[in-house]
Amino acid sequence: MTDGHGQADDGIEPDGGEATTEDPSTEMAIQTDVSESVNDSDYTREAGTLVEARDVSVYYNDDRALNDITMDIPENRVTAMIGPSGCGKSTFLRCINRMNDMIDAARVEGDLLLRGKNVYDDDVDPVALRRRVGMVFQKPNPFPKSIYDNVAYGLEIQGADGDYDEIVEESLKRAALWDEVKDQLDESGLDLSGGQQQRLCIARAIAPDPEVILMDEPASALDPVATSKIEDLIDDLAEEYTVVIVTHNMQQAARISDKTAVFLTGGELVEFDDTDKIFENPDSERVEDYITGKFG
């Protein structure tokens, strides 16, 4: 069993042991129970929507970091979130897999639905949720273990049966890393280059076969070549997963996303639309000013 201590940033409970003891029925409840979804008669979920935010606000103590966010994130698409520092985009991202639970001062209001089920319901286990909603961070954070163990980690903590070798290979292939590391699986993940480490983290995130992959500035610490590989990978991943990415790099959002959400100061979602619409003819003057560099 790999010990998860010190790896809270991975989006998995620090106590790896707890994850193995959870009641499998809890996870089943998350996956299948849509009968308790929020019934808002004024709202009909769009076909193909995977994640729905309904009036989501987040407070850090008394300070509101996110202000009544309502949006539908489509399945098997890349949705980008852009905006100036402190606009709340990362805070929103962390609502989706309840990473904000780890911050004592944080309080979330509103409904955040995954396939119609509110992830903040009492019967939802955050650990099980994070298997369905994987996360990749700005700075590559492989464990000080072998490449193989890094990818197998997520499988081990959920006590998954089956052939780890096959899943590790498949995950590394999907993360476009297999060809570069297949002969050195026993070597430390920390010996890889930054770009390779980030793809290793992506392989680790997809090994448990999640539905959503959250990415928080996944390429901002990488050089242009490594960034390009990550961007290509994101495009490929969207064929099987729903990708939600926060990026400071507007051009990156334009290149790789299908939908773009623009958050501006005050934790406000100002505009959310098809990416070409946002970058060619946004409805909001504030969004136009932001993306053309007039402020922000």
């Binding site: 290509d232 051009q251 290149r255 990416t275 060619e280």
Partner: protein, 223 residues
Amino acid sequence: MPRKQYQERLEELREDVLYMSEIVAERLRMGMDALDVKDEELARRVIEEDAEVNQLYLELEQDCVDLLALQQPVAGDLRFIAATFKIITDLERIGDLATNLGEYSLQAERDVFPDVDAQRIGEATLEMLDDAMTAYAEEDADACYGVAEADDDVDQLCEDASAAVMRELLEREGVTEEDVDDMMADVSRLLLTIRDLERVGDHAVNIAARTLYMVENDDELIY
């Protein structure tokens, strides 16, 4: 190859432009045939089907805008998109000129100047268009100069044809008062046909000029 999706979109744009050029060349051929054999149905088809060319033009223009707005093209990619943005305008205008030929065909009731070979001029301009688009497809700078040279020949053919019309007009005998209006309509239609074909050649040169810019960053043929 890095930026796979972007590269695929560039390639799709190139293929779509070539498809548009095939459609436009087909329309031009139809317009010339309609004029040649006074085929009313063919003439109407050329006119009606221009909407398809216009739609293609708008779609490709949008593709160029999307690539510029979303993909930040630079260097050769930027020149390719900038050149393509101009080239599709030339193709759309050739489509318009093809519809003009269809309209002239509908208006013409007789062949008043049998000595003027508009078909020969049309064939030459079609060949120029084909050469220009081949240069674009194959990124062939030398072929661009060939298109510009061919235009000199087309211009000469057009000049000769216009002179032949005027000469015939001046030398024609036995023109009655009643014939004058019909003759004026025939002459102006024929001169417009010659002018439109000459403009097809000019658009082909524009395509070659933009292709040369695209391939070698050379604006020599742009004027």
